[in-house]
C-alpha cells in the first residue's frame, strides 16, 4: 500500500538516482519542526492574506520583520508612501498580533522608487518621523536595483539616517549584476561610516556569501522559488559556512513565494543532519541579535510571550483575551 502510494505521488523525474528527493518532496515537514520556533526577518505581509498569518503561527513563526518595499507598481505621491508606512507600524502590526505573531518593520525608500527623484526628495523628508517609532528595528530595505546614480544618492542618505538613529540597515541586493552590486553596497556602507555588524546584506547566494561574511557583515538568504535561493542550496551553504552571522528569510510578497520558507528550510536542515543549535541560529536567534541592535527587539520579547496589555484586563471577553482569532474549518462547505 505504502509503496504503491509513493510511486503514484512521485513524478517521474524524481525516480532514479536521487532517492532522497523522493522522500523529501512528500514529507510532512511540520513533523520535523515540532516545538521549534522561528523568526522571519523579511516578509511583506501587506501582500498576504490572513490565511498566511494562520499558517505562520501554526508553523511556529513567532516574530517577523516587514521591510518597506515597493508595491509592484510605482507610487505617484507622498501620501501613498505615508499611508504605507502607517500600515507597517499600525494596521499590519495589529493584524499580526491577532495570531500571536510579533511584528516589527524596517522603514526606508526602496531602490526602484529612488529613481523618481522629485518624489524621493519628499519621502526623505518624512522618513525621520518614522524611524524612531516603536517596533521599527532598522532602515530598510534599501540599496541598489538598476545601480543608478539616483539609487546611490538615496542609499547614501539613508545610511546617514541609520547612523544618526543608531539603527541597523537591511540592504537589498540587486537581481542583475548581483555580485558587483553587493560589493558596491558594502563599500558604500563603510564609506558612510557604518560598522559592518550594523548592516544586514540580504538576498545572498553562493557567489556573494564569502565576501559578505569575511568583511564582517550579516548575510541573509532569501528562500524564494525560481529567482532567489532554493532551500537545498541553503543547506549546503550552512554546511560550508556554518551558522555565524547567517540568517534565512522568505521575502514572501505579491509574487509566487512561500511564507513558510523559513520553517521548511529548518525542517530540511534537520533532515539533512544540521545541528539543532545551528538551525536555531540561522532561523531564529541571529536575526533577533542583528536587529536587536536597534533596542526595539530582544529575546525577552519572545521568552515571555504573555504580554501585559490592556486587553488582559477585560477578563471573560473572548475577542480581547490574547487577541486570538477564531478558527474556521476550511474543509467544511458550511460557513457559519
Amino acid at each position: 500500500m505504502c509503496n504503491r502510494l509513493e510511486s503514484e505521488m512521485n513524478p517521474p523525474h524524481f525516480t532514479g538516482s536521487e532517492s532522497q528527493d523522493m522522500e523529501k518532496v512528500n514529507v510532512d515537514f511540520m513533523a520535523h519542526i515540532e516545538n521549534m520556533t522561528f523568526f522571519d526577518p523579511h516578509i511583506h505581509m501587506t501582500s498576504r492574506t490572513t490565511d498566511d498569518y494562520q499558517a505562520l503561527a501554526d508553523a511556529g513563526i513567532v516574530g517577523i520583520i516587514e521591510p518597506a518595499f515597493w508595491l509592484g507598481q510605482p507610487r505617484t505621491g507622498l501620501s501613498t508612501f505615508k499611508d504605507y508606512y502607517n500600515s507597517l507600524i499600525g494596521w499590519e502590526r495589529f493584524r499580526s498580533s491577532q495570531f500571536g505573531i510579533k511584528h516589527y518593520c524596517t522603514i526606508g525608500l526602496n531602490s526602484r522608487e529612488a529613481n523618481n527623484e522629485a518624489l524621493a526628495e519628499q519621502v526623505m523628508e518624512i522618513l525621520p518621523l518614522y524611524i524612531y517609532k516603536e517596533g521599527v528595528v532598522g532602515v530598510g530595505e534599501i540599496g541598489f536595483d538598476d545601480q543608478t546614480a539616483a539609487e546611490e544618492k538615496y542609499y547614501r542618505l539613508q545610511l546617514d539616517l541609520a547612523k544618526e538613529g543608531q539603527l541597523p540597515v537591511q540592504v537589498h541586493t540587486p537581481h542583475r549584476d548581483k555580485k558587483k552590486g553587493t560589493i558596491k553596497s558594502m563599500d558604500i556602507a563603510i564609506e558612510q561610516g557604518l560598522e559592518p555588524e550594523m548592516v544586514i546584506i540580504d538576498h545572498n547566494n553562493e557567489e556573494t556569501v564569502a565576501e559578505v561574511l569575511d568583511r564582517g557583515f550579516w548575510a541573509a538568504f532569501t528562500i524564494y522559488p525560481f529567482t532567489k535561493m532554493g532551500n537545498e542550496r541553503m543547506v549546503e551553504i550552512v554546511k560550508k559556512y556554518g551558522s555565524e552571522r547567517i540568517m534565512v528569510n522568505s521575502a514572501a510578497d505579491w509574487g509566487i513565494s512561500d511564507p513558510l520558507a523559513v520553517a521548511k528550510t529548518a525542517a530540511l536542515m534537520k533532515m539533512k543532519g544540521i545541528s539543532i543549535s545551528d538551525i536555531k541560529k540561522v532561523t531564529y536567534s541571529n536575526a533577533i541579535a542583528a536587529f536587536g541592535q536597534s533596542n526595539q527587539i530582544s529575546f525577552e520579547d519572545f521568552e515571555q510571550p504573555v504580554v501585559i496589555d490592556q486587553s488582559a484586563t477585560y477578563s471573560g471577553n473572548t475577542i480581547l483575551r490574547g487577541g486570538q482569532q477564531p478558527r474556521i474549518d476550511k474543509k467544511s462547505i458550511i460557513i457559519e
Binding site: 494596521w91 524612531y132 516603536e134 501585559i308 486587553s311 477585560y314 471577553n317 480581547l320
Partner: protein, 268 residues
C-alpha cells in the same frame, strides 16, 4: 497628572521629560518609550477639571501617561496650530501613539475641537485604539452627539466588547439607541446568533411595543442570562406592563429570592 507621573517616575525619566518639554514636546511624544518605562503599570484616577468625570488608568503603562503629558504641554496659545500638531502626530502614529492620543483627549486643551480623533477611534479596526477611546474614558460622554454616542455603543456591541466599561452609559442613554439595539438583536436572531444579555439594560426606559415583545421573548427563552436580563428590565422599569409581568411570569419565580444584578451579566 504631574503628581501621578512623579510618583511613578525615576529621577532620570523625570529629568528627561522636563528637558524635552522645554526643548521639543512633539519629539518627546514620539521618543517617550526610548526614555520612559513601557512596562511600569500606572493605576490612578485623573480628574477632568470642572467636571465629575475621571480618566481611570488601570492597565496603562507609564509611557502612555507621559505621552499625554507631552500633548498637554505642546504650545497651546494658538488653537489652530495646536490642532495641527495633534493632527501631525495622529496621522503618523503607530499603535501605541494613537492609543495615547485617544486616551488623553479629554485632558487636552481645545478638547471639544479634537472630536474628530474620537470618532476616528470608534471607526478604527485596531482593537487597542478602539478600546483606549471607548473604555474608562469620559471623552465620548462629554462631547459626542447622540448619533456619535449611539455609533460607539452599537459598534462596541457589534464587536462583542463589554459595554459596561464605557463611561456615561446611563447618562447618555436614549430611545433611538434602544430601538437600534432591538433591531440589531432581531438581525442576530434571524442569523441564528445571540446578543450579550447585558445590552438589554439600555432599553429599560423605552419599552415600546417592539422592545416589549423582545423582553417577553427573552423572559421565555431557555437562556438563564436572557431570563435574568428580562427580569432586571422589568424590575427597573417604571412601566406598568413590566411591573405586572414581573409579578406573574413563572420563569421569574426562581430569581425572586436571590440577588440578581446586571454585573452578573457583564461577562460575555
Amino acid at each position: 497628572m504631574k503628581d501621578i507621573i512623579l510618583h511613578h517616575c525615576n529621577e532620570s525619566e523625570w529629568t528627561w521629560i522636563n528637558h524635552q518639554i522645554s526643548k521639543n514636546p512633539l519629539l518627546g511624544f514620539v521618543a517617550t518609550p526610548r526614555h520612559v518605562s513601557k512596562n511600569r503599570q500606572v493605576d490612578a484616577s485623573i480628574p477632568i477639571d470642572n467636571t465629575d468625570y475621571l480618566i481611570q488608568t488601570q492597565g496603562w503603562t507609564l509611557d502612555r501617561l507621559v505621552r499625554i503629558y507631552f500633548l498637554f504641554h505642546l504650545n497651546s496659545d494658538d488653537g489652530v496650530k495646536y490642532r495641527q500638531s495633534i493632527q501631525q502626530l495622529f496621522e503618523t502614529a503607530e499603535i501605541n501613539e494613537a492609543v495615547a492620543i485617544v486616551s488623553g483627549l479629554a485632558l487636552l486643551p481645545y478638547a471639544q475641537e479634537l472630536k474628530f480623533y474620537g470618532t476616528e477611534a470608534v471607526r478604527s479596526n485596531i482593537g487597542q485604539v478602539f478600546d483606549a477611546f471607548a473604555f474608562n474614558n469620559p471623552y465620548a460622554a462629554m462631547y459626542f452627539s447622540e448619533a456619535e454616542w449611539n455609533q460607539l455603543i452599537l459598534k462596541t456591541i457589534f464587536n462583542q466588547k463589554p459595554i459596561h466599561l464605557i463611561t456615561g452609559l446611563k447618562e447618555r442613554n436614549n430611545e433611538t439607541l434602544a430601538i437600534s439595539i432591538s433591531d440589531f438583536a432581531h438581525e442576530r436572531w434571524a442569523a441564528g446568533r445571540t446578543v450579550p444579555a447585558q445590552v438589554w439594560r439600555l432599553v429599560t426606559d423605552f419599552l415600546n411595543s417592539q422592545i416589549w415583545e423582545d423582553i417577553r421573548f427573552l423572559a421565555n427563552s431557555n437562556s438563564v442570562s436572557d431570563q435574568k436580563a428580562a427580569y432586571l428590565v422589568c424590575q427597573q422599569s417604571q412601566d406598568k406592563k413590566a411591573t405586572d409581568f414581573l409579578q406573574n411570569h413563572t420563569k421569574f419565580q426562581s430569581f425572586k429570592n436571590t440577588l440578581v444584578h446586571w454585573e452578573q451579566l457583564e461577562q460575555l
